[in-house]
Symmetry: C2
Subunit: 203 residues, 2 copies
Amino acid sequence: MSDETAARHNEKMRKIKAARDRMMATKTEEKGLIMVHTGSGKGKSSSGFGMVMRCIAHGMPAAVVQFIKGNWETGERMLLRNRFADEVRFFVSGEGFTWETQDRERDVAAAQNGWKIAREQILDPEIQFVLLDEINIALRYDYLDIDEVVDFLLTKKPEMTHVCLTGRNAKPELIEAADLVTEMSLIKHPFRDGVKAQKGVEF
Amino acid sequence: MSDETAARHNEKMRKIKAARDRMMATKTEEKGLIMVHTGSGKGKSSSGFGMVMRCIAHGMPAAVVQFIKGNWETGERMLLRNRFADEVRFFVSGEGFTWETQDRERDVAAAQNGWKIAREQILDPEIQFVLLDEINIALRYDYLDIDEVVDFLLTKKPEMTHVCLTGRNAKPELIEAADLVTEMSLIKHPFRDGVKAQKGVEF
């Protein structure tokens, strides 16, 4: 690379840095966020668990409520229960993907129980981050009332507590209420080519 | 809810389960995947770290090479270094976001060094999962040669080793070579409203 190219590059980077510094100087507020991870792609739950790990690193007490993946012995569940039981409270309310149970009454009861636990954890002043994993599935099938959930998050959640809600098909009311919404989209998936779910990757 | 509604729901769920079981029965292959997390939304790195945590839980030795986030003391780095040094090899090649350095030669050298470490880790038969965090930034600015990286992944990567490459603006060549690609899209972000990056959430 010529000196001239390098100089041009460095000047461009200097401008980007200046613009970014100006932008970041306006970002001064701290507040507890309502975050939603939705879409049909990978990474909704795993990035939620990634944030739980960040909380552990920073000494921020966290809670996880799993709404649907009840009967899978996932890596994240094993790790949190076996290694981080002091740092993270871990609850499972669901009994598996809903199509595994084929019993709506039982699904509704499990979801309602999960939501009761979720409210308690969110209101607990000790807890700074709550992951409601796959709650969007329970909301989509109306196992939980969307208006009740949104109203609770907007009016009862302590100001500095972060709540992350995951699952595909997030309801519009939840997206409207959220501070930060990410859609994970599937561009390519190996299931199409006959590759099965693998440990470390999917669970 | 009436008995009839419940019966209809249960029948619908039974059909979904049958279709899903048929679909999953065709998914029998196990192989090491080339995975890409891209897009401008959140969750690219944190879901990569979530998978590393799953690997720890399953006793799968993993390695992480961070290409760009060099000078941030992130939660994930603290956690992996302080608590999981036996399970996960952790390397940092970059010196911060590229606009922090304003020195292209130094950025190129750091990226090349990271790629050298990455190749060693991918080729190491001990290692089952390698996270190349923010490598897409290094590829985008041509600090690394995309053809060299893609060729290595397609021809040198051991068959059962998973590699996950993160960062926005993934190059088309990488997407073409990958088995699994997820795009994280920003639907809503609180930076717009003056909220700054917060621990546990962004780092």
